[in-house]
Symmetry: C2
Subunit: 347 residues, 2 copies
């Protein structure tokens, strides 16, 4: 093996789904967000495992991802597409029975003209100004839109990772007001929203990052493990440097292991100076710049040369290395590269 190996624990993923499902009461259906290749871990294995566990409703960003879910999870699940009905998507939406979450009057017209009678949902903007109809736009078409029997009305919280943020109750109140009296399933909460409390759960929740072991679901079971194979080791004398640009200099004789992974595998270059890999429980700091396919690691203090070192696992979560790279766990997950071997446990 000369590439990094990503191990995805599908049992842990299903267990995270069950925990987030248990957070809301039985009147609320718990879906699953599997967009962005299931947050980088593999859309088809994830959709298969969740379907086996009984998940009936999936959310993706674009129609192409919906096609992958349809193939993996079968004909009987509901697949909702956040980008709605985009130009050029009609055939896929129709043939694969995808449900576009309509974002604008333009999209609604396109949908009704192209696929009359085909299911659709509605997305309302309640403050993020990102996706969905604006309140005034919605109020103008609300009656005629409802006459067309949408399957779901949803909005998205902009600050759910910050429980005390005043934006949360503001968006909840506005969404309740915009949907007052409708007889259609309603959804507002992703992982963060689920953790905000029952008033946010409504009819359908849409956990995403929490399924994959990321914050804000602090009690999540880790889902991914990333092991990097050691190519060779060397003793670097004091005064010599390691890696591009000579940015790290050994102050004493140092044993450096070169591992076969780098920023082309989604290990952000920026995390280098603050990040360790692990030999079991022992942290081994990165030395020198992360390069495209290679990373230098200090293993001077180890008793024996390891065959591989661990970047992600029980020792260190996606959120820890995300902080080191000045970003969020979500981006660490979705950056996981196509070159690494993927193994799936359980499911």
């Amino acid at each position: 093996m000369s590439t990094a190996r990503l191990t995805v624990d599908l049992d842990a993923l299903v267990s995270n789904w069950r925990s987030l499902d248990a957070a809301s009461d039985n009147r609320t259906e718990t879906g699953a967000v599997v967009k962005a290749n299931a947050y980088g871990v593999g859309i088809q294995p994830v959709a298969r495992a969740l379907a086996k566990a009984g998940v009936k409703r999936y959310f993706v960003a674009v129609a192409e991802e919906g096609a992958a879910v349809r193939e993996a999870a079968g004909p009987n699940v509901e697949i909702n597409v956040f980008s709605g009905h985009m130009r050029g998507d009609t055939d896929m939406i129709g043939d694969l029975n995808l449900i576009p979450m309509i974002n604008s009057i333009d999209q609604m017209l396109r949908h009704v003209e192209a696929l009359p009678g085909h299911d659709f949902g509605l997305q309302l903007d309640t403050g993020m100004n990102r996706l969905g109809m604006e309140p005034d736009e919605w109020m103008a078409v609300r009656d005629s839109a409802l006459d067309l029997n949408p399957t779901l009305i949803m909005s998205h919280l902009g600050c759910a990772d910050e429980p005390e943020h005043p934006m949360n109750p503001y968006q909840l109140n506005l969404f309740n007001e915009l949907t007052r009296g409708v007889n259609v399933a309603r959804s507002l909460a992703a992982t963060g929203g689920i953790l905000l409390g029952k008033e946010y759960h409504l009819d359908v929740t849409r956990p995403g990052v929490g399924l994959y072991g990321g914050l804000p679901f602090a009690d999540a079971t880790p889902v991914v493990r990333l092991d990097l194979p050691v190519i060779q080791t060397r003793e670097v004398p004091a005064g010599e440097t390691v890696g591009y640009g000579c940015t790290w200099e050994a102050s004493e004789p140092t044993v450096i292991a070169t591992v076969a992974a780098g920023y082309a595998d989604g290990i952000h270059r920026l995390m280098g100076p603050r990040t360790s890999l692990y030999a079991g429980d022992i942290p081994c700091p990165i030395r020198g710049r992360i390069s495209m396919d290679l990373i230098g690691v200090d293993i001077t203090h180890l008793d024996e040369i390891p065959q591989g070192l661990t970047l992600l696992g029980p020792q260190q979560t996606v959120d820890v290395i995300a902080g080191n790279a000045k970003t969020i766990g979500y981006e660490v997950l979705t950056s996981l590269g196509g070159r690494m071997a993927r193994r799936y446990k359980g499911g």
Copy 2:
């Protein structure tokens, strides 16, 4: 179309190869580095286009990439693997006739035992302390290694992007010394090394990033263009915010276009506050945080609503947005995600 679209200009790529080939004289063979999925743009289309243009020697990071090149470029090209002969790679190296660049005495023993008589190259470390045999290790095995008829001896420059760095002549001198009198092809220069001058070219050069239009090859023709489709637009009143965490607030009425791409497509979250997309030649600044699948863009000043906006192209190179994300063009290229549609022009 609801995903981002990456257009790769294979004619530009071949033209960059020809320019870098022309920088050295006829005694020097110019290879091509196509590791990391050809720097993110697509290893098989790139290898096919370069093979058609006459390139005979390819460099990859790991054996799995060598398999992709063998399939695309056919049986008659030479494929060199930087990670050398790793545990578990023997079958691939043997069956696909890959040439491992041996990095250590351990690897040399493994290779000779597992595949006696099979071609191999040698990698020497001249100061990066990353890959290759150390000078003392090399001098100890030099005679017996040369008896086995290696096809290539190479090293890699750590500071070639900085022409004035004293590390460059230091590495050149050390490499010349370590290989004095050998009758084997020698290689030291990647893109940066080619630009340092003829004494760095030796027998084989290995251009990588310059082929793909990135620095330090300032005269490169741009190879990639990245267009992001607009999902919808909205008017945001003064005082409202856009995106997660309410980080950007409109100071006047603003038209925001939401485009269907985000950090899951490799558009680093960190570049947001400093980056514009383009409508033709008109820059349109990103507003609010880049999210996983969506970006808000200010199009208030445009005369009409565009169907898409351009992130990479003649208006803005990979190195510009890399600077905005506090990294280098190489990482921007290799981050380009698997979800986007790829189109190849020419080749």
